[in-house]
Symmetry: C2
Subunit: 293 residues, 2 copies
């Protein structure tokens, strides 16, 4: 059971569940998050008990809730619960918000009381020193402008793609069948979009480029940091554009900026522009400084 | 709380929750169904304690589970639980299957223990005697062949479209702003696919036609009955094809065959071919006989 407060362990996930303002014992079997993925979530990196990007995560959660018509709990209460779970330590924090308990059927209840869950998780292992090995996934991202960019809970495409990425590679030489660290996903139109749980940037012509997320994909918080702090822009790209790039990295709000060392048969050495960006990032957001080898 | 056995009421939903073979008190906050919609479900109409289409529903659940790589519980145990909940009565039965509790992150656990929930719900109200009033929804269905046809738990598109269908119409005359009974959805390519929770058939040139569900939509159990028992086939169709049809009906495994009386400004009187089909259906599947006015 992940539910309940377990105050003595930092390694075990701990979750607290609320319906509206009231803490409850467990998720109701009729919760619409369970039935339909009718919710949104945020995953944050907490550093010494604080979440440096809280405001950006909360703003995205509110955007997603507005798009889906979900009621939103009081930010102060959610943040208090998060702080209590963190106890001043480093961890990954997840906030999940659903439309709450509903009858059978897709129609949203008129007076929904949201369910929200705040959970604390161990930090992920440090990324491989040599850089990530990634592969192309067969599972594609469907184009749905009405949900694109949001961190909603309909994530079967990512689940299926991540399962592929963790399987021995079929597009790599036969001597090299270790599971990949991540998988890159195309849209059903064939454009490169992102990794399963990270955004993608490529260096080309001296500038960083990332695919737009207006048709599918998630508008990542770390992606927004890069767009705001580096010479970077959005560009539609094909797989060959990624493979021809001078450098490639993935990024998300839990693991920061992760250099890619290998994609299918293409290998990249560390690029000075990428090292400079990582140094700038670690200086600006100390929560991620530990991830820099 | 919907969890727990409430043996005295037929109107209140009742749910029983299992992890693998073991009955548990509640849904874990770390269930992947809640986190990612990582599951499949079936909704059945039970008649005098029996589910006449159980085999078809179970087969579809297994197909969906195979596509997603979900472990499947023993059919006999699920059916026993369902029978116990039904107590020989008429009701709607829902079976939900998720990948179970998982860590944070999309990667499916290697040894997942499935969560499954069997719940009993009241029968829906009888459909309007005069036929359904339906409308076109703005929310479209994304094209994802990897998930099309399956009754998986990523249903935000249907939730958003159903919310539209329940709002006062904007495509109807201003004197006629009652909420619609259902909404029709197009794919992002502009083809008609289905209603939010029912398949669609139109009568044209003396034959029934329904859109294919290879790009999006659900391969409905009642849809399969119609395709097997009526002169019917699959055809790609545009909105104008529906509006020009001689008769239109929606169908699903809970409500059976539902004549459409109105779509936007188009009205249909009862068509003898549709009445004949409904009579054949009620004779073949007595669970639905009560729905025939």
């Amino acid at each position: 059971m992940a539910t309940g407060q377990q105050r003595d362990s930092t390694a075990t996930p701990v979750a607290r569940v609320f319906r509206g303002e009231r803490e409850v014992e467990a998720i109701d079997a009729a919760d619409r998050g369970l039935a339909y993925g009718d919710g949104v979530f945020e995953t944050l990196r907490a550093h010494r008990g604080d979440a440096p990007w809280w405001d950006a995560h909360w703003a995205r959660l509110r955007r997603g809730a507005r798009a889906l018509g979900l009621p939103v709990p009081e930010e102060a209460q959610v943040r208090d619960v998060a702080c209590a779970l963190l106890r001043g330590e480093d961890a990954v924090l997840k906030v999940l918000l659903t439309r709450g308990v509903g009858g059978r059927g897709y129609a949203p209840p008129h007076a929904a009381v949201p369910t929200w869950v705040v959970s604390r998780h161990p930090l992920p292992p440090a990324p491989p020193e040599a850089g990530l090995r990634v592969r192309w996934c067969h599972t594609r991202l469907a184009i749905q402008p009405g949900l694109a960019g949001l961190k909603h809970c309909n994530r079967l495409e990512q689940v299926l793609a991540r399962a592929e990425a963790g399987m021995p590679g079929t597009d790599a030489p036969s001597s090299d069948e270790r599971p990949s660290d991540e998988g890159l996903m195309l849209s059903t139109a064939g454009d490169v979009i992102s990794a399963t749980s990270a955004n993608l940037f490529v260096l080309r012509d001296g500038q960083w480029w990332t695919p737009p997320v207006t048709g599918c994909g998630v508008a990542g918080i770390c992606r927004a940091w890069v767009l705001a702090h580096a010479p970077a822009g959005e560009a539609v790209m094909a797989p060959r554009d990624v493979e021809a790039a001078d450098a490639v990295f993935l990024c998300n709000a839990v693991r920061g900026i992760l250099p890619v060392a290998r994609l299918a048969t293409r290998c990249w050495a560390r690029h000075p522009r990428l090292e400079a960006l990582r140094a700038q990032f670690a200086a600006d957001v100390p929560a991620f400084a530990l991830e820099t080898p």
